[in-house]
Amino acid sequence: MPSATLSEQDSLFHQLQRRMVESGEWDRLVLQLRYQLNDAGWLDSQRVQTLEQAHTMEQPSFRELLDGTRTRAHGVPEAVRQQIMTSMRAFIDKQIES
C-alpha cells in the first residue's frame, strides 16, 4: 500500500536524521558545506542578491526575503553537491551496517 511504504520511508529518514544529529555528523556536514559553498563563491552570490532584494523593499520583511532566497538558491555547484552526497552516503552506509 503506497501510504504505508511512504511512512516506512519517512520513518527511516527521520531515524537516520536523528542519528546524524546525535552523532554530530550533521553539524560537521553543515560546516563542510558552508566552507565549500563559500569557496565556490555561492554564499557571497546569495548574500549579494538578497541584499539587492532588500534594498528594493520599502520595509524589508523576513518572509519575503526568505522566499526570494528559496527561489534563487538552486544551482548549488555540482562538485559541492557530489562531495556532500558522498559524505552522507558513507555515513548512512555505516548506520545501516550497524
Binding site: 527521520h14 536524521q17 536523528r18 544529529v21 546525535e22 552523532s23 554530530g24 550533521w26 553539524d27 560537521r28 553543515v30 560546516l31 566552507y35 563559500n38 569557496d39 563563491g41 554564499l43 557571497d44 548574500r47 549579494v48 541584499l51 539587492e52 520583511s61 523576513f62 518572509r63
Partner: protein, 554 residues
C-alpha cells in the same frame, strides 16, 4: 567643530535593557515596540532575557560539543513539540518550554494557539514577533547574544602558550565622571571617507593608506588619541604622528577636499632606505610593510621581541615552518613572526581558500643537502610545510603578482576570487597537527573582508585602486575620486586583486601582562632606590667614623 546632525535628538536612556547602548534612539522606528514594552517591565523583561540568554548559551554549548565531543557521546537532538521529529534548527518559544520547526510553521502555529508572542531562532539568536509578523531588531537582545556567546567562548578557549584563560570581556558602563566629561562635548561620527591626492605616481601609497584607514583597530587607536603628536617624543619624521594627522584629516568635518599625504610619503621614502624614493611607480605591498615598520619603530614602548605596539597588536602573527627529515622522521619546527601572508598563484581557478591550501601544503625543500638536526644525516628529499601558528586580529594577504623572470619582472594577471568571509581554522598549526580538528570555538577563526587593493595594467604603466568599507557601506577609492560601491562590485571587480585585508570577527584578549618597558622602568626605579639607600648608609657610617675619631682625640 560642527555637531553631528543627530546629536540634538540623542537622549541618554538609563533603562537596564539599553545600559550599554549609549547612542540608542528610544524612538527608533525600526525597533519592535512589542518587545520593547515587555523589556521595559522589570519582571517580565528579566524573565524574557533570562530565557533568551539560556537559549543562546545552550546553542553555543551544543555547537561546540558537536565538533569537539568525545566519540560515542550523544549530542542533544531537539525535537519539534508539534510533529515530534528532529529539528536541527529549532525555534524556541520565549514564553514557555516549547520549541519547534519553522519550515512547516509549527512554531508559528504554537504562538498563535497559545497566544505567545515571541520565538527565537536558536542558531542565530534572532527573534520573531507574532504581532509584527517579522523578525525584529532589538538592541538589548543583540548585545545579549554577543555577550552570552562570548562568555561561552571565553570559557572554552585556552591559549596554547599561557596556562591562564582568556581575559574576560568587560562592557563599558558609564559613571558620573564619564557623564561629566561628556557633558560639554558634541558626538562626531567616527567614519569618514576622503580622497587622496596623487602626488606623482603615488597611487600605490594612496591605495595602501585607504586600506589602513579602513582598519578598525588602527582607526580606534588613532581616533582614540593613543598617539598624540603633541606628546610624541620622536622628533620630526614620526610615522605614527603622520598617521594620526591622516586619520584626523579623513574624519574632519565636511567639506573634505582631497588630502595630500605628503608626511606619509616622506616617511615611506625615509624608512624605505631609498627603495621607495623617486617618482616612479612603486609596489603597494612594499609600501605597506615599510610604513608598518616605520610606525612600529616610532611607537612608544615598541620592543624587538613580543612587541605590543599598535602595528604588532594589529598585524602581528606567527608562521611555523615544519621540516621533516625523510631518514629519521624527525620534524624541526621554526617559528617566525610575520605582518602579512604572501600567497602564490597557481594554474586553474584561484580562490583565497585554494591559495591558502597550496600555502600550507607539504612541499619539497628547495635547499639541497639539508642536514637534519635530530639524526645528523644529510638528505635531498626533506619536505617542508608552512602553517599559521598565531592568527593576528587583522590578516593581510598579498597575491604574488610580480615575478622575476630572468632580468625582467612580469605581472601575473590570473584572477583570484576572494570571499567576503573566511574561516582560518584549517590553515592553523593546531589544526594541521591534529589532522583537521582544531581547538577552540569556530567563531575564533572567522574573518571578514574590509579592504581590497587592486592593480590593473602592467608593471610600468599600472594603476592601483582600492575598495574599503565602514560597517556595510563600501566605497571605491581611485586617488582623489571616491565613489559608492557594493559588495557585488568589490567581489566582481575586473581589476585583479593584489591585496586583501580581513578583520577577525571576534577579538580575544590574552591574560594581562605588564608591558616589558614598564617592567624595566620599575626595576630601574628599584635599583635607583637601593643605590641611594646604600649611599646614604655609607655616608652615615663615614660620619660616625669621623665622630669617633674626634671623640678619641678629646
Amino acid at each position: 567643530m560642527a555637531a553631528s546632525p543627530n546629536s540634538a535628538t540623542r537622549s541618554h536612556s538609563s533603562s537596564p535593557a539599553t545600559a550599554d547602548g549609549l547612542f540608542d534612539e528610544p524612538t527608533d522606528p525600526n525597533r519592535c515596540s512589542h518587545i520593547a514594552a515587555v523589556l521595559a517591565d522589570p519582571s517580565e523583561g528579566a524573565a524574557l532575557l533570562k530565557k533568551f540568554r539560556g537559549v543562546v548559551s545552550w546553542k553555543a554549548q551544543r555547537s561546540h560539543e558537536a565538533l569537539h565531543a568525545a566519540k560515542r557521546r550523544k549530542i542533544a537532538s531537539p525535537t519539534c513539540g508539534t510533529c515530534g521529529l528532529t529539528t536541527p534548527r529549532p525555534f524556541v518559544c520565549l514564553e514557555c518550554p516549547y520549541s519547534g520547526c519553522w519550515q512547516d510553521e509549527h512554531v508559528l502555529d504554537h504562538l498563535r494557539d497559545e497566544g505567545h508572542r515571541f520565538c527565537v531562532d536558536a542558531q542565530l539568536g534572532i527573534v520573531y514577533c507574532r504581532e509584527c509578523q517579522d523578525m525584529i531588531y532589538e538592541p538589548a537582545l543583540e548585545s545579549a547574544v554577543q555577550r552570552a556567546t562570548l562568555a561561552f567562548e571565553e570559557r572554552e578557549s585556552r591559549f596554547r602558550d599561557e596556562k591562564r584563560p582568556r581575559e574576560s570581556y568587560q562592557p563599558w558602563t558609564r559613571t558620573d565622571k564619564d557623564d561629566a566629561a561628556l557633558a560639554n562635548t558634541t558626538p562626531l561620527p567616527c567614519h569618514g571617507q576622503r580622497g587622496l591626492l596623487n602626488l606623482g605616481q603615488t597611487c600605490f601609497l594612496n591605495a595602501t593608506l585607504q586600506a589602513l584607514l579602513a582598519n578598525p583597530l588602527l582607526r580606534s587607536y588613532f581616533l582614540g588619541d593613543r598617539h598624540n603628536p603633541r606628546w610624541c617624543r620622536v622628533r620630526a619624521g614620526c610615522a605614527c604622528c603622520a598617521l594620526d594627522h591622516l586619520f584626523a584629516a579623513v574624519h574632519a568635518p565636511p567639506p573634505r577636499a582631497p588630502f595630500g599625504p605628503t608626511e606619509l610619503l616622506a616617511a615611506a621614502w625615509r624608512a624605505g632606505g631609498g627603495a621607495l624614493a623617486g617618482y616612479a611607480q612603486q609596489d603597494a605591498h612594499e609600501c605597506l610593510i615599510t610604513l608598518l615598520n616605520a610606525a612600529h619603530t616610532s611607537s612608544r614602548g615598541s620592543t624587538l621581541l613580543k612587541c605590543n605596539c599598535i602595528v604588532h597588536s594589529t598585524f602581528g602573527g606567527m608562521l611555523q615552518s615544519d621540516v621533516r627529515c625523510p631518514r629519521c622522521g624527525g620534524v624541526s619546527e621554526t617559528v617566525d613572526p610575520c605582518l602579512d601572508v604572501s600567497l602564490g598563484l597557481g594554474p586553474g581557478k584561484n580562490t583565497l581558500a585554494s591559495c591558502l591550501k597550496k600555502f600550507t601544503q607539504s612541499e619539497d625543500l628547495a635547499v639541497k643537502d639539508w642536514a637534519c638536526q635530530k639524526c645528523g644525516k644529510v638528505s635531498q628529499e626533506a619536505n617542508k610545510r608552512l602553517s599559521i601558528k598565531r592568527l593576528p586580529p587583522v590578516l593581510s594577504f598579498q597575491f604574488k603578482r610580480f615575478e622575476q623572470r630572468g632580468t625582467e619582472t612580469v605581472k601575473i594577471d590570473t584572477p583570484v576570487r576572494i570571499p567576503a568571509t573566511i574561516s582560518m581554522g584549517p590553515y592553523t598549526t593546531a589544526a594541521l597537527e591534529a589532522g583537521g580538528a582544531y581547538p577552540g570555538p569556530e567563531a575564533m577563526y572567522a574573518y571578514e573582508l574590509f579592504a581590497v587593493i587592486n592593480h590593473e595594467g602592467q608593471i610600468d604603466n599600472g594603476h592601483y585602486t582600492s575598495f574599503a568599507r565602514y560597517d556595510d557601506t563600501w566605497c571605491r577609492f581611485d586617488d582623489d575620486k571616491v565613489t559608492p560601491a557594493t559588495l557585488a562590485g568589490v567581489l566582481g571587480a575586473t581589476a585583479p586583486v593584489y591585496m586583501a585585508f580581513y578583520a577577525k570577527r571576534r577579538l580575544d584578549y590574552k591574560p594581562h601582562t605588564t608591558p616589558s618597558y614598564v617592567l624595566t622602568r620599575e626595576t630601574e626605579a628599584v635599583r635607583e632606590r637601593e643605590r641611594a639607600e646604600r649611599a646614604a648608609r655609607q655616608a652615615q657610617a663615614r660620619e660616625k667614623e669621623v665622630e669617633d675619631e674626634l671623640l678619641a682625640t678629646v
